[in-house]
């Protein structure tokens, strides 16, 4: 008998806590033309495109005032909180920078060879023919952390104000019109008390607010709630943990794997796989991605990645190498019907992962995010020229573009791709290999947090980290560049006294070891003493803001701007 995290919802009410009118006196408010929340591919493509258009619209540029475009980014710099595989389709870079030769793009490797393998404990069986959704020829391996820096530099050159180390806490809404955002406070102590150098946030008002927050976007969740923009299906997420390795022998192909070490039995709902991509001659990146609807409370994606590295196939690639980076992040996998029913409301537009614009069967999202950012910019300029803040035209733009078309097309890939890229590929290929015998059964479609968790043995096979080839969570958090101050207030909302199954789920799930159960309570609960509930201790300064907790019964809110990881090459 299991327990579902959804039975212990976090103490949070999105619509009332994170949405409200401006509170600063008018003369203290900061007025900008367009406020973009999120310095990722979507937000920065939007910023760049806006400046390109404004060059030819001097009247509008003047109307937008001293600060025509501001990007609000909670990381130390754009790119610091970006992480992805990734294979990027070139279409959006071409659309945004048509005159920039591909040789100047911030890309690492042009894909001319790729392969998919089904792993057993000792072997790697190439899947042929390769399922078509895996084919990446003509795409580029990129580090989205580097892409973010590139796009940010271009934006700054063009006159965009990049406000890094700034979190957007609250959506400013008056009369159901979005007026801007309120930035987060700085200098609060552990219990929220203002410290000596306390600096309150500011109301930033704008004619257009673009929410480009990425996966599990904070204000997007609040907006979807407040304006009732829920899509037909609940959104779902997968968690990816990634490492970058310097290796002596170059890798010659993009690799995806499925199968081992995930367990096949349907009751565990373990779906996912790995990616191993070349990053030029001397580096590779390797990551493991799994859907967050698994049911074993001891399942840990970080440890599955460590276990995965032990496979001889992987050892051959990493042998003699050195880990140089680590990170973790979630990705939305709900597909077409999980996207919000509208992408805009008066005064606001949503672009990218936070709006579910991810084509999960083909594992693509970066170029859709950028396209969406471009369309948002074009819609904004067109509307503001007419003195309107009604951005409805954006919806149609998105749905009739490759974003809408691709996602709609893949919505039909119900069986097997509705469960995602790796799942779909695994199932499709496994079905081929086993001639339909595997897997059988019916697939669950619930919200990740509604799956009941049980304590089982997923963790039994996880290796003890040796610090050179396999790593523990704490040293990995260190490798992410996370140096958040210890007396920062807790930005994670969860119920802190829950059944052991839920506590264990969080402890194992979190790649950054944020959650802990006091040893004595753990023992007691395992021995069946007491009511089976335990306390959950939170170390918020470890958090790398991957978002997994939000998918599994908690709620991540943005911590102080500047906190969190400093990704440079993931």
């Amino acid at each position: 008998m299991g327990v579902a995290p959804a039975e212990f919802p976090p103490p949070v009410d999105d619509a009332s806590e994170f949405v409200g009118p401006p509170t600063d006196p008018e003369e203290d408010r900061i007025d900008v033309g367009v406020a973009i929340v999120g310095g990722g591919p979507a937000g920065l493509a939007c910023a760049n495109r806006l400046m390109q258009l404004l060059e030819h619209e001097p009247a509008l540029a003047e109307k937008l005032g001293e600060v025509p475009v501001a990007v609000i980014e909670k990381g130390k710099t754009p790119g610091a909180h970006l992480l992805s595989g990734a294979n990027m389709r070139p279409s959006a870079m071409k659309e945004l920078f048509p005159d920039l030769p591909e040789s100047e793009w911030p890309v690492l490797w042009k894909v001319d060879k790729d392969a998919v393998y089904l792993l057993t404990p000792k072997q790697a069986l190439p899947l042929k023919p390769m399922p078509p959704n895996f084919r990446n020829h003509g795409n580029y391996v990129v580090s989205v952390a580097q892409l973010g820096r590139f796009l940010s530099d271009k934006a700054e050159e063009a006159g965009v104000y990049i406000l890094s180390e700034t979190a957007a806490d609250k959506l400013l809404v008056e009369d159901r019109i979005v007026r801007g955002v309120r930035t987060g406070d700085k200098g609060r102590g552990k219990d929220g008390e203002p410290l000596g150098n306390f600096e309150p946030g500011s109301d930033v008002t704008a004619k257009a607010t673009v929410l480009a927050e990425g996966t599990l976007g904070h204000l997007t969740m609040a907006a979807v709630d407040y304006f009732d923009l829920h899509g037909k299906d609940d959104q779902r997420w997968e968690l990816g943990v990634k490492e970058v390795w310097e290796v002596p022998q170059p890798l010659d192909r993009v690799i995806h794997t499925m199968g081992w070490p995930l367990r096949k039995a349907p009751r565990w709902n373990e779906f996912g796989g790995s990616f191993i991509y070349p990053m030029g001659d001397d580096k590779v990146c390797i990551g493991f991605v799994a859907g967050l609807d698994y049911t074993d409370a001891t399942f840990s994606v970080h440890d599955v990645l460590q276990e995965f590295k032990l496979h001889p196939f992987v050892r051959k690639i990493l042998e003699g190498g050195k880990r140089v980076a680590w990170g973790a992040k979630t990705i939305p996998s709900g597909g077409y019907f999980a996207m919000p029913k509208h992408f805009s409301v008066p005064g606001m537009l949503m672009a990218g992962d936070n709006a579910g614009m991810v084509n999960i069967p083909e594992l693509k999202g970066i170029h859709y995010a950028m396209h969406a950012g471009i369309y948002a910019a074009e819609t904004i300029v067109e509307a503001l020229k007419r003195d309107s803040i009604n951005y409805e035209a954006y919806d149609e733009r998105v749905r009739s573009s490759v974003i809408g078309e691709d996602l709609y097309r893949s919505r039909n890939m119900r069986q097997p791709f509705s469960r995602g890229f790796f799942v779909g590929g695994a199932l499709a290929s496994a079905m081929t290999i086993t001639k339909g015998a595997f897997p059988g059964g019916h697939f669950k479609q619930e919200d990740d947090a509604e799956n009941e968790m049980v304590l089982d043995g997923a963790s039994k096979s996880y290796p003890k980290p040796d610090g050179k080839y396999t790593f523990d969570k704490l040293s990995s958090v260190f490798a992410s560049g996370n140096a958040t101050r210890d007396d920062a207030p807790n930005h994670i909302r969860i119920q802190e006294h829950v059944p052991l199954e839920i506590a264990q789920t969080w402890v194992s799930m979190c790649p950054a070891a944020v959650y802990e159960v006091p040893e004595d309570q753990l023992e007691a609960a395992q021995n069946g003493e007491g009511d089976g509930k335990v306390d959950v201790h939170v170390t918020p300064s470890n958090c790398v803001q991957c978002g997994a907790i939000t998918a599994k019964g908690g709620r991540l809110t943005p911590p102080e701007g500047g906190d969190g990881p400093l990704y440079t090459q993931v």
Partner: protein, 325 residues
């Protein structure tokens, strides 16, 4: 080849500090290899015997600038610059410490000289000296050569051992120094005030640090007692500071302080990297932990797998006994 000039710092009673003695013996050794002389410079009211005694560490001459006040760097820059230029010294060596840094830096500007600081070792190479120093938080070691003369070497505190070199008595030469106008613009009001209350763990030679393995806040007493016996201070990990068992001022690690004491005794500390980076340069690391797999056992010099509640009280007694003996 005039040789190496060393600054020797003394206290109000005329006792020369260990770092200076170390620097002189190091200079004597190097000078010997170069076929040159090592000399010392002292300022203030130093007695003849006091100055001559530096000969024991290998100084052949001691330049004494009686009219130069002790305690602040710039007047000493004036004194040393004069002697270095008059006597054409090739190298200047300091035993570390605040004044050493400030005087060495002033000389760099005054004489247009190369300077290396935090030096842990000096080599003789191709007829000259090469300074060896750790860089980038001790993650690499650099070997640095000087272009032109003189070359200024500022040692890391305690880098050079004071070794008696059979030097006999040094010749004392009094020098008259004209102070630069700006050297008299700073005046010492109080020197060396002790502030017992806030013990600066960064300056302690011995640190006893407590982690989660202590079990509860009260057990920090075990650390206090042992620290007292050793003549050191108490520090803590982030986890216990978080839990309120110890003040933040004592936190060692990535988000706390970085220390490099002579002895770092870690009690009940696992040794996660966030903590390690704050103490990995300690000269001697001793760890007590009941978990044989704790990462700290990978990088300590002496590791004891056992119950700190049993070991620490007995260790404290044994240390007291040994020192009392």
């Amino acid at each position: 080849m005039a040789g190496i000039l060393v600054y020797a710092l003394h206290d109000d009673e005329g006792n020369f500090n260990k770092n200076s003695q170390g620097a002189i013996s190091e200079a004597a050794k190097l000078a010997g290899e170069l076929g040159a002389e090592a000399a010392a410079l002292v300022v203030g009211d130093v007695s003849d015997e006091g100055a001559q005694s530096l000969g024991a560490f290998g100084a052949s001459k001691v330049y004494r600038a009686k009219n130069v006040p002790e305690g602040l760097a710039q007047p000493i820059v004036d004194a040393m610059a004069k002697v270095i230029q008059d006597e054409a010294f090739d190298y200047v060596l300091f035993g570390g410490g605040l004044l050493g840094f400030e005087i060495g830096a002033g000389l760099t500007a005054r004489l247009g000289a190369g300077v290396t600081m935090e030096v842990t070792d000096v080599k003789v190479q191709d007829g000259g000296l090469v300074a060896v120093r750790p860089i980038l938080q001790d993650s690499q070691i650099a070997e640095v050569q000087y272009v032109g003369k003189p070359g200024i070497i500022i040692g890391r505190l305690n880098a050079f051992d004071a070794v008696a070199r059979d030097g006999g008595s040094a010749e004392v030469v009094d020098v008259d120094v004209e102070l630069s106008p700006w050297s008299t613009k700073a005046t010492m009001v109080t020197r060396g005030e002790q502030r017992g209350a806030d013990v600066n763990i960064e300056d302690a030679d011995y640190l006893v640090a407590g982690g989660r393995g202590l079990g509860k806040a009260e057990n920090f007493e075990l650390c206090e007692e042992l620290a007292k016996a050793l003549g050191g201070a108490v520090a803590a990990t982030r986890a216990v500071v978080d839990a309120g068992w110890f003040p933040y001022a004592g936190q060692i690690g990535q988000t706390g302080k970085t220390v490099a004491p002579k002895l770092y005794l870690a009690a009940g500390i696992s040794g996660a990297i966030q903590h390690k980076v704050g103490m990995q340069s300690s000269e001697n690391i001793v760890a007590i932990n009941k978990d044989p797999n704790a990462p700290i056992f990978e990088f300590c010099d002496l590791g004891i797998v056992g119950d700190l509640h049993k070991i620490m009280p007995k260790l404290t007694e044994a240390v007291k006994a040994k020192k009392g003996a």
